[in-house]
């Protein structure tokens, strides 16, 4: 496992063992901005429009894919803007973007797992990170959330918690965070 700098002192990304690319690159280059990937994804999960959450898209994989494309193309520059604001002490900064990830991490105080959304009002995008300190985040995972709960979103449920735990242990092993703080 490696930590890769995306924006110095602000945003880092994990590159998992056995992977050639970082999570950041996977999301912003290989998946969320790749029309072919997105179309394939929504075609292979036609059930997404059958739930209350995304029914308004009318069972149209192209429209769902277009929505993700637009969202991701707004999100990446927005993250850069938030990082710049964090450097300059201006608002909104990265602290306003990421929200605590509840569930099993609800009682964590330091290095809390967080989630970020796309910028569109109804968004499929989820970015999962660990807050290392104020305005400094390590992206560990992300994906397309097809349902109102993570438990019903293929690919997300089984991966998020497992990856967060693995990365936290790596941070301790590398002396980036103190063991006592976990």
């Amino acid at each position: 496992m490696d930590i890769i700098e995306i924006i110095p002192d602000r945003i880092y990304s994990i590159k998992y063992d056995g992977e050639d690319i970082t999570e950041y690159y996977r999301l912003f280059n290989e998946e969320w901005t790749d029309e072919d990937y997105l179309l394939g994804f929504f075609q292979s999960h036609p059930e997404f429009t059958e739930n209350e959450f995304w029914g308004f898209l009318g069972n149209d994989p192209e429209i769902a894919a277009a929505r993700v494309l637009e969202d991701a193309n707004k999100l990446e520059p927005y993250l850069k803007e938030l990082a710049e604001n964090s450097d300059n002490g201006e608002q909104p900064d990265l602290e306003t973007y990421f929200k605590p990830l509840n569930g099993k991490y609800g009682y964590d105080i330091e290095q809390i797992p967080v989630k970020g959304y796309g910028v569109l009002e109804s968004t499929f995008l989820r970015l999962y990170a660990i807050r290392l300190e104020a305005n400094c985040y390590l992206i560990v995972y992300g994906g397309i959330k097809l349902n109102s709960s993570i438990q019903n979103s293929p690919g997300l449920q089984e991966n998020v918690f497992r990856k967060i735990d693995k990365v936290k242990q790596y941070l301790v092993d590398e002396g980036i965070i103190d063991k006592d703080d976990i």
Partner: protein, 146 residues
């Protein structure tokens, strides 16, 4: 100390050359890349709803199947000629010129239009034609009024 930023920066590596290049490319070309991908999705949708194959589309457009594959990749910097060709086939406008759509060109106040615009013969040719046409209409109106 709970978190050690110096240690993080010691451990952290730089992105690969490929990731850096791709990130730069995305940043510099984001607008047209998004439009290209949205057009590709619109074509995919048209094919699906009309039960048309990519080969049939290639035939209608008069281009090779390989070129259609490129169009549908959503990463092609499409020319206006190609976009207009697609529009003819799918009978749906992909690009719009808002001022033209609203008829603003036709409603412009010719008395305030710099004369040099009318003599401009290259990229603004169509615009000049509209202005010239308007001028002729205005001239006819004035004649009728007299």
């Amino acid at each position: 100390m709970a978190f050690n930023l110096n240690r993080l920066n010691e451990v952290a590596k730089q992105p690969s050359e490929k990731e850096r290049e791709e990130a730069r490319f995305r940043d510099e070309n984001r607008d047209w890349l998004l439009k290209s991908a949205l057009i590709a999705l619109e074509i995919h949708r048209y094919l699906r709803l009309n039960g048309m194959t990519q080969s049939q589309l290639a035939e209608k457009l008069g281009i090779s199947p390989a070129m259609v594959t490129k169009l549908l990749s959503g990463k092609e910097n499409l020319s206006l000629k190609t976009i207009c060709g697609i529009e003819r086939v799918i009978q749906f406008e992909l690009l719009k010129v808002p001022s033209y759509e609203k008829g603003i060109f036709m409603k412009c106040d010719l008395s305030k239009m710099p004369e040099e615009n009318l003599e401009y013969e290259d990229g603004n040719q169509n615009f000049c034609k509209v202005i010239k046409m308007n001028k002729e209409i205005e001239s006819k109106k004035r004649t009728m009024a007299v």
